[in-house]
């Protein structure tokens, strides 16, 4: 089953796909053709958003770091999300913005002190995020700092959530990113340093995870700086393709 959060008749609403996946079924039973849906990021307000840095060994070396012995985890707010087929503002005063295709695990049940071998049973579903980074704004304080990773509408997420039971092995999915049709990232979730199950066990060893919390699990190698107007597609096998367009060159007065 796939579920999506869409904008419909003046409100945000959750809907399920029908069997042929050409329509979304609203809670009222009404149908919306998928081609006409206005996609919202599939997040629950208030939930905790974890993201991983340096969680693929090849990407870590590409950035000049040694693979970490403990995970680099940071948090994100909600206004940094933008839905499928949305637009991300091109940052003013920067050229080094690069897309990061990431598998997102969404917690489905409360978790506290979950064992690694039981952890995946607490995942409700999976989606895709493009966790853009803007390298010029990196600072060495709680790095990656929020000016890099929490910019409004700079984390496209979606298009939808695929139920966990429909993903046989989340640790063996191909991820690709295309910019204007050219592949710039091509990796596999098999290359994660810290697995989804390990991360859930680790986080739940010191804090309570709740349904709707998300873990953006990091990105493989392939740093490609984008230009204004670029079309960026992040695809993950068995989940879908998340499409985002970067906005135009910012006006001089913009922030």
């Amino acid at each position: 089953m796939k579920r999506a959060r869409i904008y419909h008749a003046g409100q945000a609403i959750w809907a399920e796909f029908n069997q042929t996946e050409d329509h979304l079924i609203l809670p009222s039973g009404a149908l919306v053709a998928t081609g006409e849906a206005q996609w919202l990021p599939p997040n629950l307000p208030g939930s905790t958003i974890f993201a991983l840095g340096l969680n693929y060994a090849d990407h870590t070396r590409e950035l000049g770091f040694e693979p970490p012995s403990k995970p680099l985890i940071f948090l994100k707010g909600h206004k940094t999300f933008v839905g499928h087929e949305g637009m991300t503002p091109y940052p003013k005063g920067a050229r080094q913005i690069h897309p990061e295709c990431e598998l997102v695990a969404i917690i489905g049940q409360p978790c506290r002190n979950v064992r690694e071998e039981d952890a995946l049973a607490h995942v409700g579903g999976y989606t895709i995020a493009c966790d853009y980074a803007v390298r010029e704004f990196l600072e060495n304080y709680y790095r990656p700092n929020l000016r890099v990773k929490n910019r409004d509408a700079t984390t496209p997420t979606g298009p939808w959530i695929v139920d966990a039971q429909d993903i046989a092995n989340p640790m063996a999915l191909r991820l690709t990113t295309r910019v204007n049709g050219t592949i710039v990232q091509d990796g596999s979730t098999a290359d994660m340093v810290f697995s989804i199950a390990w991360l859930i066990a680790h986080l739940s060893s010191f804090m309570t995870l709740m349904p709707g919390d998300m873990i953006l699990t990091g990105t493989p190698h392939g740093v490609h700086f984008c230009d204004p107007g670029d079309r960026v597609e992040c695809e993950i096998e068995n989940i879908g393709t998340l499409v985002n367009t970067l906005g135009p060159e910012p006006l001089a007065a913009a922030g």
Binding site: P45, G77, H78, E139, N140, L203, F206
Partner: protein, 233 residues
């Protein structure tokens, strides 16, 4: 009146005694924050100046340009009267009494405020995010939200630790005022729809991990917190 509106719209106090998870914190009331809670580190002038020379050394290499932000996730939120369990593997706490600004109306303008006690495990480095240190369950007790009044910034607040002398704190020593913080942050992120910003005030390191604390400020209801040493997890 603002409180009622906020209670209805954003804070929805509800009784969750059936939840085993919240029961472990002994919280009978829970506060729902629909936005994201941001906090500012290194915003106390004295503390910053004490550490300033180290910011020229690795891994920092240069002083911070932008406000140094971190996020307190929802599992941290507790209400006044909460008993916050301090896990036994934590040797030392840093307590940061602070002011929480709530953005519930016009974007980037505070509409309400509450006293807050930002609790974290003491950590020297601010190079990498400190999730384990900052994000334990119950590590952000928040007082009752009342209508925003900028006069609070010129008043003197107190932190009373049961059995010790009260310590006063104020907001005159902030490196960036709330207005300056909001102005800088809003150049890349909007504060609205239930977001909260903790402006920072002072930091007190303590090895005393069983304590009753009360924060007070002029015109505001006190925030009571009990720190209780827990079992090793």
């Amino acid at each position: 009146m603002a409180v009622e509106f906020l209670s209805f719209r954003l804070l929805s106090p509800c009784n969750l005694i059936t939840s085993n998870i919240l029961n472990t914190l002994n919280i009978l009331e829970v506060m729902i924050i629909t936005g994201t809670i941001y906090a500012v580190a290194l915003n106390n002038r004295d503390e910053y100046e004490r550490r300033e020379s180290s910011f020229l050394e690795p891994p920092y290499k240069s002083p911070p340009n932008s406000p140094v932000l971190y996020i307190k996730p929802r599992n941290c939120v507790a209400v006044s009267g909460a008993r916050v369990e301090i896990p036994a593997d934590i040797p030392s706490l840093t307590l940061a009494p602070s002011l929480a600004l709530l953005f519930a109306g016009t974007p980037n303008q505070p509409s309400a405020m509450a006293l807050a006690l930002d609790i974290c495990e003491t950590h020297a480095s601010v190079f990498r995010p400190a999730i384990r240190e900052q994000c334990r369950d119950g590590f952000l007790p928040l007082g009752e939200f009342v209508e925003w009044d900028p006069d609070i910034l010129t008043g003197v607040c107190e932190m009373n630790v049961h059995g010790s002398q009260a310590r006063s704190f104020d907001f005159a020593g902030l490196r960036r005022t709330p207005d300056e913080l909001i102005s800088e942050l809003s150049s890349y992120m909007t504060l609205s729809d239930g977001d909260v910003l903790l402006v920072g005030a002072m930091q007190v390191r303590t090895e005393r991990l069983d304590a009753q604390l009360v924060l007070t400020a002029p015109g505001m209801t006190g925030l009571k917190v009990t720190l209780a040493r827990g079992l090793a997890i």
